[in-house]
């Protein structure tokens, strides 16, 4: 890959902003991979457990291919047909930034709710 193209990919790799409607699935996948490599089915089960969302196979692989294309995850060698994926350093950084932004939004929302609507 020519240098300019690689730089362009790396510039985009710091954020999930280019994922559009796949930003949600991408965040779930990166969060799942944060504690170690997983293959497709293991990702589905893990996400179902911690987020109570079952990602459909097509959506999961669309998000996986975008994450891999931007260098946020990478495929590992495997002896069987179930290929595991792991987080890259760029992926860890992108997830950290994205979750910090999300936390800020959540904190503002919860604070305003508490102020205006009282605690649940």
């Amino acid at each position: 890959v020519p240098d300019r193209a690689r730089d362009s990919n790396q510039e985009r790799a710091g954020s999930l902003g280019t994922f559009g409607r796949y930003a949600g699935p991408a965040t779930l996948i990166l969060s799942s991979l944060a504690d170690g490599p997983k293959h497709g089915y293991a990702l589905t089960k893990d996400i179902e457990q911690f987020a109570r969302i079952r990602l459909a196979p097509g959506t999961l692989y669309e998000a996986l291919s975008r994450l891999e294309g931007q260098g946020l995850i990478e495929a590992l060698a495997s002896d069987d047909r179930r290929r595991p994926y792991q987080l890259t350093a760029a992926g860890a950084q992108a997830l950290r930034v994205h979750l910090a932004d999300q936390r800020q939004v959540a904190e503002v929302g919860l604070t305003r709710l508490a102020r205006g609507w009282g605690r649940a």
Binding site: P57, Y61, R81, R82
Partner: protein
């Protein structure tokens, strides 16, 4: 581990077919494993089927360079050139059908409205320019393909089949159109603008796009056509589509140097500009129609439908050309 039932295997294979070959080569095995596990968990799930179909179609659009999820630049450039070419081929086929109809009218009388006259002139000029662009794009690609076929590269790049199909389809279309152009309704015309488009060319364009016809919506009239003409109207679009698909396969498979890819990208941009001028001319004719206009130049529903499809094809071509420009900027 027990082997999954045959029915599940068949369902997995069926679902995988929604994805393009390049995607299946990369993700097919692991995706099939996930689908088999998911089918075991939830044997019946229509949402899963809909999700796989929509994701497969999206992957096909991505492979054609049409989504925001861009491919590696080298792949994106080829995908963009192929998509612009295919979209403009569909645009051109409908455009030729429309222009041939107007050229036939001009053989007999002058248009009685300025929009129809100006629109036809714009369409004729843009069509000529588009034909020239197609020629200057096709010559270097054909040259590289012939050189590859004469060397050992052809077998490796799987060029022989698409090249053979392209030549066969082109021959079929030329011979067929030359035969059916004898029935061109503009023959013998004596209108004031006789010869806006050279008669032979207009007749050839008319015959080669006979299938773009409102008669398909009137089955009761089909018996009035000779069987050979009906066969031609059915088979010629198949030949057009096969020709476009074969040329697309050649462009994807033949080795093209970076300089030639850049040249083709510029040619593609020029072609979308000309197609825009053609569409403006066609819209001027179709949309400015007023009741009472001479019947020779009266646009019908089929022309409005063609205009709509041409607009969609042009939007696809423009989108692919934009992705092509971004990919070229990334590699320069």
């Amino acid at each position: 581990v027990t082997a999954p039932p045959d029915a599940d295997l068949r369902r997995v294979r069926r679902l995988l077919r929604w994805y393009p070959r390049s995607w299946r080569a990369r993700y097919g095995d692991e995706f099939a494993e996930l689908l088999r596990a998911d089918l075991a968990d939830r044997p019946r799930d229509r949402r899963r089927t809909a999700d796989v179909i929509s994701s497969g179609l999206l992957a096909r659009c991505t492979a054609a360079g049409l989504t925001s999820h861009e491919l590696p630049p080298a792949e994106q450039i080829r995908a963009g050139i192929v998509t612009v070419g295919c979209a403009l081929a569909a645009f051109g086929a409908l455009g030729v059908a429309m222009l041939a109809q107007l050229a036939t009218g001009w053989q007999w009388a002058s248009p009685d409205s300025t929009p129809a006259a100006a629109g036809t002139l714009a369409m004729a000029a843009a069509a000529g320019f588009l034909a020239l662009i197609a020629l200057v794009a096709a010559i270097p690609v054909a040259w590289r393909a012939v050189a590859a076929i004469r060397s050992r590269e052809a077998r490796q790049a799987r060029l022989v089949w698409p090249a053979g199909l392209a030549v066969s389809c082109a021959a079929f279309l030329i011979v067929g159109a030359r035969h059916f152009e004898n029935w061109w309704p503009g023959t013998g015309g004596t209108g004031a603008e006789h010869g806006l488009v050279p008669g032979g060319l207009a007749a050839f364009g008319w015959a080669s796009t006979l299938s773009a016809s409102a008669y398909w919506a009137h089955p009761a009239l089909w018996h009035t056509f000779p069987a050979s003409e009906l066969a031609w109207m059915t088979l010629s679009p198949v030949a057009w589509i096969t020709l476009a698909a074969s040329v697309a396969a050649i462009v994807r498979r033949v080795s093209l140097p970076a300089g030639l890819l850049r040249y083709l990208a510029r040619v593609a941009a020029a072609a979308t500009g000309s197609a825009g001028a053609f569409l403006a001319g066609a819209a001027s004719w179709v949309l400015a129609h007023r009741p009472g206009q001479a019947s020779l130049f009266r646009p019908g529903l089929v022309d409005a439908a063609e205009l709509l499809v041409m607009a969609v094809a042009l939007i696809i071509a423009l989108r692919a050309a934009a992705a092509l420009r971004r990919a070229l900027a990334a590699v320069q």
